[in-house]
Amino acid sequence: MPDTPLDLEILLDRETRIDLAARLDAYIDSDRDDELHHGDPLASFLALATEIRDALRHPVLSDTDRARIHARAVDLAARRSRGLRRTWPQLAHLGTHPAVVGGAAAAVLAIAGLAALRDRRGAHAPRPLLGVA
């Protein structure tokens, strides 16, 4: 067994190496299911590629980790946009929903606006035509 990472590259000439890298690349991106001989270096590279993919796609976080990161992400986003607190369902149980707060605030502002408009009309608007004498 060779000792350095480059030993395989020394064993194979440059052309073979380039060809192997290109074939490996094509196989990784394709649905090809050709038969390969064990003697073909590509066979063992592909087997290794499959192993690496499976190993790297193995979950690395616990549910607690995911929940914690998720809460931090929502907090970070919420600092810039309050509406984003609604993004994930698990935040819905927090009690007062931002949409409710927003809706209530809008209603209060609307009432205040109407009251101000009525006051101004009281001072400057013409008397109603059908008003009570």
Partner: protein, 198 residues
């Protein structure tokens, strides 16, 4: 070999469209990619806390940008990886950045279960990937963990497609040696043909 298929991409596009209509529908995308982004962030930072910071910031950005996100026919993860990469690059320019060696950062609070899994083949592979040079590690993680194409990886890493192909091949050569895979010259050329299934 590929898990990434036109069908899987189409399904992902639907997930994104659903999330754009209703942000609560972002949850499946988060669940699908959080582990990958964390693993990538850890590969870049070598620090669990920083990896978590980067992952949280990446998904925060994803939430903010979701209404403006435009589908380009590549996995959503390509966009997430790019954001994570940019965040790490930005943070590295700040004073106080601490990059720990691989075994001092991850092993500090290993659980018994985690220690047990170190004996698994998967754990050996992850360990071997962890010891690759930085660029090779990144390329392997994006190629196999993220199932991205060379062109997409090149964009994320700011390298040429050719450079990515070379990095990946060199990394796989190293991994073959470290993981004990027999070299082609030592194999039996008269053995039976076999099919490769992913």
């Amino acid at each position: 070999m590929p898990h990434r298929t036109p069908q899987s991409l189409a399904a992902e596009r639907l997930l994104i469209l659903a999330a754009q209509r209703d942000p609560q529908a972002f949850a499946p995308l988060y669940t699908k990619y959080v582990d990958q982004i964390y693993a990538y962030a850890y590969t870049l930072t070598r620090n669990k806390d920083q990896a978590e910071d980067v992952t949280a910031a990446t998904f925060a950005r994803a939430l903010e940008e979701l209404p403006r996100f435009e589908w380009r026919g590549v996995p959503y993860s390509a966009w997430l990886y790019r954001v994570a990469s940019n965040l790490v690059a930005r943070d590295k320019r700040r004073p106080g950045w601490i990059e720990l060696s691989p075994h001092t950062s991850a092993d500090a609070d290993e659980t018994p279960e985690h220690i047990a899994t170190l004996h698994d083949r998967d754990a050996h592979i992850r360990e071997a990937v962890d010891t690759l040079p930085h660029d090779q590690r990144q390329a392997i993680l994006l190629r196999f963990g993220g199932e991205l194409r060379n062109k997409e990886i090149a964009e994320i890493m700011g390298r040429s497609e050719g450079a990515i192909k070379l990095l990946t091949f060199r990394a796989m050569t190293t991994l073959r040696r470290r993981l004990g895979a027999p070299l082609p010259a030592e194999r039996d050329d008269h053995s039976e043909p076999r099919r490769h299934h992913a």
